[in-house]
């Protein structure tokens, strides 16, 4: 009955509609062990009994159960009820710890008679392996043994899993479509303050008003009329451009080169981004392009004080391919299925990390962002970010810049609005970059790179962010759960147009939920983990003070300007600007000068001297030791590195409970409830003290009672080259010399 997925090779085109057959769910044989299905979820195939092996390959740790492959996930359902499930404080409603969403599968290895082979979709799948090892994009590793299952079932499940998780498919096969057809068109919960979705004019106007910018709103793409022309598909429905840019400029290079407003600094200068113009050889085209860019730069300059700086990101930052390559090397170090290998790799851990260059790419991005922040904050220069497509690294840099400069984006809803503005509506190609359709060639974890950078800021300034590390980790996981409209489209145009088609087919208005509706994934209790208990909200005092101190909102650091802006020299400045822009000198503007590094340092040092204002400018420390590994995300599933009863989480918990106590005391004072004693609550927690949480809480399970420490198994001592020193004795002067003062050099 569930053979749809098993003869995968024969399908020419994946046909989604045929799967949706609610009757299929009522299979009696499987009923008792079925996973809890989501609306619209359909089983393709299953196999039983399958053994789920733990990490260290010990038979005692294996669990017997059934393996399913549905249109949403690969799911393992255990035969026995596990006690562990009871103490999970943080559960995802959409998938459990034994579920792998199909889009979350990174790589599958087949175990062929002790030989491990990477399964690629082109590979012959006729011979099914004894077991499969699944590496997930959220860094989990699963090992399933198919030895016990009947051969036919094993073959089917293997082929089904490979076909549905590795082979190219069409957009409509993404589970979100099937899901949204089967959920009631639940209106998005409008919590307050709400996340701006930037899908209507109101949100854009609100943002412009908030930042006090003065750019021109363009509505010509309201019905995506421009986007329908192939080359424009990245453009959002609504956007702001400098007042001096004309509507017809849009047409000149299919929207490329047009500065699109991102954010305005309180001084008046603003941040713009654009896609770079196509490469041309011919002299006349080149000249035309230069003139055009000059005009665009002029228009940006006109925004404030005639100062503009073009920052070409394609030239100074790693390419999309570099990022992808680096990340695939990097993540490999965390997908561990063998303890021996773990301890061997431990020896060269630091250099292994370094050779992936991932941390270095993070540093480069942060560095570039600080550079841009410096122009905006210190020199009040308008910035135009230029990048080939205009929707990858420019999104990273522009959002980082805004995060550093504007405390609003460090709140939870502010951050979500930022992601909407710069990434989702800003036209980042999530579909291809996340490789949801398994067409590998354009994959690159650009958004994850951004989250990595945010994490660096968060860990350096943990009091400045309303959201927690867990929030970032969960958000990074959500990228590969293909249920949210946020991460499955290549552009706003694609989203609107495909939803329109779907709705027409379905006969009613469909709506794929956004990832920001966290209640889809987590219950109220779990959602608390998304907030940072250390966040220092702006006190009322500060708020009122800032209100009174117009005109400039207090964002710290008004460094002494080397050349104070002279408002009355408009003409001269324009003249010099013209000169600067002419000819080849334009390229000079786009290059990172050698002194940029030094300048950024100086800027950082100057900032560091100031008292730190968590609601002001925030800069990252870029020194070697300061850029760190996002341990929670990458190490959370590895048993060897769980510190039970330790980690920063203990501090956070202590502070949280103290804050709660404070809150209770405050309430008590306000309400003057004399009966309630504040210390009743705290005695409750004392009992829990035997439970030891992992340092990666809330991701790894808790341990109670005794447990074994992880003791390194291999020393590989030979690799450590100590030279002749190692052979020496501790004391050359055995037994004889015990005096306090020893003689001079030997």
């Amino acid at each position: 009955m569930f053979s749809l997925g098993s003869n995968g090779g024969k399908y020419t085109k994946p046909s989604f509609v045929s799967y949706v057959n609610p009757e299929q769910k009522g299979n009696d044989a499987l009923q008792e062990k079925n996973p809890v299905f989501l609306p619209g979820e359909v089983v393709f195939c299953s196999a039983s009994p399958v053994l789920k092996c733990t990490h260290d390959d010990l038979l005692e740790g294996s669990i017997m159960g059934t393996l399913f492959c549905t249109n949403f996930r690969i799911s393992f359902v255990s035969d026995q009820v596990l006690l562990e499930d009871v103490v999970q404080p943080f559960r995802n409603r959409l998938y459990g710890e034994n579920d792998i969403p199909l889009t979350c599968v990174d790589q599958i290895y087949g175990d062929y008679d002790e030989k491990r082979k990477l399964i690629t979709n082109t590979q012959m799948k006729n011979k099914h392996p004894n077991g499969i090892i699944v590496h997930c994009k959220d860094l989990r590793v699963f090992q399933f043994s198919l030895k016990l299952a009947k051969e036919e079932a094993a073959k089917k499940i293997f082929q089904g899993i490979v076909r549905h998780s590795l082979e190219p498919k069409s957009l409509r096969c993404i589970f979100a479509f099937s899901y949204c057809e089967n959920i009631a068109g639940a209106p998005e919960t409008q919590n307050k303050p709400r996340t701006l979705m930037f899908e209507n004019i109101v949100d854009w106007m609100e943002e412009m008003k908030r930042t006090k910018g003065n750019c021109k709103l363009l509505e010509i793409n309201k019905d995506f009329t421009i986007s329908q022309k192939v080359l424009f598909d990245r453009l959002p429905q609504f956007f702001f451009i400098p007042t001096n840019v004309l509507e017809k400029d849009l047409a000149a290079y299919q929207g490329k080169g047009v500065p699109i407003w991102c954010w305005s600094h309180h001084s008046g200068c603003a941040l713009f981004k654009t896609a770079s113009l196509p490469l041309v050889q011919e002299e006349s085209f080149l000249r035309a392009q230069k003139l055009y860019m000059e005009r665009m730069l002029n228009a940006v300059a006109h925004n404030y004080l005639y100062a503009v700086k073009a920052v070409d990101l394609s030239e100074t930052l790693p390419s999309i391919q570099d990022i992808q390559q680096s990340y695939s090397r990097f993540k490999q170090n965390f997908l561990i299925d063998n303890i021996g290998e773990f301890w061997i790799s431990d020896m060269k851990w630091f250099s292994t990390l370094e050779t992936t260059r991932w941390l270095s790419i993070i540093r480069q991005c942060l560095h570039k962002a600080v550079e841009v922040v410096e122009y905006l904050e210190k020199e009040n220069t308008n910035i135009l970010l230029i990048e080939d497509g205009g929707t990858d690294l420019s999104c990273v840099i522009s959002s980082l810049v805004q995060l550093m400069l504007d405390p609003h984006y460090r709140t939870l809803t502010g951050f979500q609005s930022l992601v909407q503005k710069e990434w989702v509506v800003g036209g980042h190609n999530f579909l291809e970059r996340c490789n949801h359709l398994n067409n590998k060639d354009k994959e690159s974890p650009v958004f994850l790179l951004f989250l990595e950078c945010v994490w660096q800021l968060l860990q350096q300034h943990s009091l400045a962010f309303q959201f927690s590390e867990t929030y970032l980790t969960v958000l990074s996981d959500s990228i590969s759960v293909a249920i949210f409209s946020t991460f499955i489209f290549s552009s706003p145009y694609q989203r609107v147009s495909s939803m329109k088609t779907e709705s027409q087919t379905h006969g009613s208005l469909l709506n794929i939920p956004s990832v920001w509706d966290w209640s889809l994934q987590f219950d109220c209790k779990s959602q608390e983990f998304l907030f940072n208990p250390l966040y220092r909200e702006k006190s009322k005092q500060e708020k009122t003070r800032n209100k009174n101190q117009r005109p400039k909102p207090i964002r710290q650091l008004s460094l002494p300007n080397a050349t104070p802006p002279k408002k009355y020299f408009f003409k001269e400045e324009t003249e010099s600007l013209r000169k600067m822009l002419r000819g080849t000198r334009i390229s000079r503007w786009m290059h990172l000068s050698d002194s940029a590094q030094a300048s950024v340092w100086e800027f950082y040092n100057a900032w560091q001297q100031k008292p730190l204002d968590y609601h002001g400018l925030l800069l990252p420390d870029l020194d070697g030791p300061a850029i760190r590994l996002w341990m929670q995300r990458y190490l959370r599933w590895i048993p060897e590195v769980q510190i039970f009863g330790g980690g920063d989480i203990t501090l956070v918990n202590k502070i949280t409970s103290l804050s709660q106590e404070l809150e209770e005391l405050r309430m008590e004072l306000e309400q003057q409830v004399r009966q309630a004693d504040p210390r009743c609550k705290s005695t409750e927690t004392v009992n829990k003290s035997t439970i030891r949480m992992s340092c990666f809480f809330p991701f790894a399970s808790c341990r109670s009672g005794s447990f074994k420490p992880a003791i390194p198994t291999s020393h590989c001592d030979g690799e450590m080259d100590m030279g002749h020193l190692a052979e020496r004795e501790d004391e050359d002067t055995e037994l004889t010399d015990n005096s306090v003062i020893r003689g001079c050099a030997d």
């Binding site: 851990w349 630091f350 250099s351 370094e354 050779t355 540093r363 943990s462 009091l463 250390l534 220092r536 040092n605 560091q608 001297q609 100031k610 008292p611 420390d621 020194d623 070697g624 030791p625 590994l629 341990m631 190490l635 590195v641 510190i643 330790g646 203990t650 918990n653 202590k654 502070i655 409970s657 103290l658 404070l662 005391l665 008590e668 004072l669 004693d677 705290s682 927690t685 004392v686 003290s689 949480m693 420490p709 992880a710 003791i711 390194p712 020393h715 450590m720 190692a726 020496r728 004795e729 501790d730 004391e731 050359d732 002067t733 015990n738 306090v740 003062i741 020893r742 001079c744 050099a745």
Partner: protein
């Protein structure tokens, strides 16, 4: 130890508090101040100090101190001052100012800068003074000072060759190496009184009593009262009850330097023990000792829970075997039945010294950003830390989970053995994780059991190439720091405490770390003639206390010893770099919250009293819980 004059930092706070003279000198003052000196060059004092962890209260007191004033300690005397010295700071560039040398410190200040730039360090941290190059065209001579605390200082000053007046750096050379120059160390001059006598922190009998000793299987012996069983061991020892004193001497003959197996720690429930000793004198011929075998058997028998004994040899097996050529070696499993020998692969003092030298190259003065991680790896420093922690972890695991007694030794049993036994005890026993407990641990496992501090540090000794120098104790403190990182609420002391210990390891201000053994310390009469570091620390313990401490008395801590969790101690090794911001905002935040809670609790209690006064019946009283009592939370 650079220090800004108006002293916004930690140090100056201390300098203005109870013991002004002491504090202003502790080299740790300058930990932060170096940074602040840099910071403050462009900022108002208030702004700069607000950023340091201690916050506003620091300001008020410290601003009273005159800028850049040298505050002398009791019996400290100025030897000379040179006014035209340039300090070539690797972070700020050349700074001109005056240099003062006393019998305790080197003090450089530049008043041209606003605020004044001050560099203040005990001459004890200097391991080497060298003249660099010839006299320059401007008639200046360069001097380099290599310091034990991971920094080098460079000065230039005008100096005429052949003139009668000696260079001020010759004075530095004199006072930095009192031992080589037949002078008295400053610790013997300094007589600052403190409310508590730190020499009394460790009382062996009291500590053994705390552990439940003596008991039926273990006795306390005075056999070494005159240090004639083993001159590097303490006078009080705990040995198996059925081994008489005469036999101990025969066991001593079979153990290197007479360091017989004695008890360090006993598990309160299982009676499994950690015992320490030196290597057996097996030699190439595989010599045996009946008494030694009986002794180890007695150690095993003292623990009824297990019929096995684990012998942890800290060395790599190759080195242990090589020791046979010199009469040493390791226990053969034939001779010691029921004993299992495990090698822990920790390298010798020379390898460690070389590793630290490389580390210094990598972190001082500047860090090469792009190769930071591979450079760090190439020093092997963290790899050694990992091996030491892993060894201690295995010991703790055997004792706690295996309920088995262990014997720990290396070659002489005073370097790697001290590291392993003290770290294992720190994992096993919550007492040692308190401020005082840690002092007891250091006094017991390191000082009384004869870690050769004088030789390893080379106090006051000019001979900087001495092969006996090695950062063994620094490694131990680094391991402790790694544990505090992994269990931030399990230790009563804070990072500043650890840094202070290390700074005074070199300063020679206190007598604590002088000499090589208990015997020598008594011969020198140190407890009478010098001040203990613990006197100073315990007289202002709040400075060294971790506000987030939760007393998990019965918790055994198992740190994760994977490289994934080990990191370089930036707050110590890279503290001279002004760009390294100390990361303690959480503690500060917590302190603020505690203060707020105390205030609110006070208000609530006031209200309660008010109500109680009005109403006839008082509300149920949960009296007695003071505002500051720590709330136990789940771990």
């Amino acid at each position: 130890m650079e220090k800004s004059g108006s002293a916004d930092s930690l140090g100056s706070k201390r300098s203005s508090s109870r013991q002004p003279s002491v504090d202003s000198l502790t080299s740790t003052n300058t930990t932060r101040s170096d940074r602040s000196a840099h910071l403050r060059s462009a900022v108002s004092p208030d702004a700069a100090s607000a950023r340091t962890d201690l916050g506003a209260e620091v300001l008020k007191e410290s601003s009273r101190i005159a800028e850049g004033e040298l505050q002398l300690l009791p019996r400290e005397s100025v030897q000379d001052t040179a006014s035209d010295v340039t300090y070539i700071c690797p972070f700020l560039g050349a700074i001109r100012g005056s240099l003062t040398v006393t019998n305790y410190r080197l003090f450089f200040k530049c008043l041209d800068k606003d605020p004044a730039f001050v560099l203040d360090l005990p001459v004890g941290v200097i391991s080497r003074v060298e003249k660099i190059g010839a006299i320059s065209a401007q008639g200046e001579v360069s001097f380099g000072l290599v310091c034990k605390d991971i920094r080098n200082l460079r000065f230039a000053h005008r100096y005429q060759e052949g003139s009668l007046k000696k260079s001020i750096f010759e004075l530095v050379n004199k006072f930095a190496f009192p031992v080589s120059n037949a002078l008295r160390m400053f610790a013997f001059e300094y007589g600052q009184p403190f409310p508590e006598n730190g020499w009394k922190v460790y009382d062996p009998l009291a500590e053994y009593k705390r552990q439940g000793l003596p008991n039926e299987s273990w006795r306390i012996t005075k056999a070494n009262e005159h240090y004639d069983v083993c001159e590097t061991y303490p006078a009080t020892l705990v040995v198996p009850a059925n081994i008489p004193d005469e036999e101990l001497k025969r066991v001593a003959a079979f153990r290197a330097k007479g360091r017989i197996p004695v008890l360090s720690w006993i598990h309160p429930e299982t009676q499994a023990t950690v015992t320490r000793c030196s290597q057996p004198m097996v030699g190439v011929n595989g010599k045996r000792s009946k008494e030694d075998e009986k002794h180890l058997q007695a150690i095993m028998d003292a623990n009824a829970q297990s019929h096995k004994l684990f012998i942890f040899d800290a060395r790599p097996p190759v080195n242990a075997a090589a020791n046979k050529m010199k009469g040493g070696g390791f226990e053969s499993e034939d001779a010691y039945q029921n004993a299992e020998l495990v090698f822990l692969d920790i390298h010798n003092i020379h390898v460690m010294r070389e590793s630290l030298r490389k580390l210094k190259e990598v972190v001082y003065p500047n860090i090469e950003e792009s190769h930071w991680l591979s450079n760090l790896e190439s020093t092997h420093w963290l790899e050694h830390i990992k091996l030491i922690l892993a060894g201690a972890l295995r010991i703790a695991d055997k004792v706690e989970s295996g309920k088995t007694s262990v014997v720990v030794h290396c070659s002489d049993g005073w370097d790697r053995t001290a590291q392993l036994s003290s770290l294992a005890m720190l994992m096993l026993d919550g007492f040692y994780r308190t401020l005082r407990g840690f002092q007891v641990l250091v006094e017991k496992e390191w000082l009384s059991f004869g870690h050769r501090f004088q030789l390893r540090i080379g106090h006051g000794d000019r001979n900087h190439t001495d092969a006996d120098r090695s950062p063994v104790f620094l490694q131990f403190i680094d391991c402790v720091w790694q544990m505090t990182r992994q269990f931030p609420a399990a230790f009563e002391f804070n990072e500043f405490f650890l840094i202070t210990i290390l700074d005074h390891l070199y300063s020679c201000l206190f007598g604590t770390f002088l000499c090589n053994s208990e015997q020598q310390r008594l011969e020198e009469d140190l407890p009478k003639r010098t001040v203990s570091l613990w006197s100073y620390i315990n007289s202002q313990h709040e400075e060294f206390t971790n506000p987030l401490y939760v007393d998990y008395a019965n918790h055994v801590l198992y740190p994760v010893v994977s490289m994934r969790h080990l990191e370089l101690w930036v707050g110590y090794y890279i503290r001279w770099n002004p760009r390294m911001r100390p990361q303690e905002p959480l503690h500060q935040h917590y302190r603020e919250l505690l203060a707020k809670r105390a205030e609110l609790q006070r208000k609530v209690e006031e209200l309660q009293r008010e109500v109680a006064g009005r109403a006839a019946v008082a509300p149920p009283e949960k009296a007695g819980s003071p505002a500051g009592s720590p709330v136990q939370t789940c771990v």
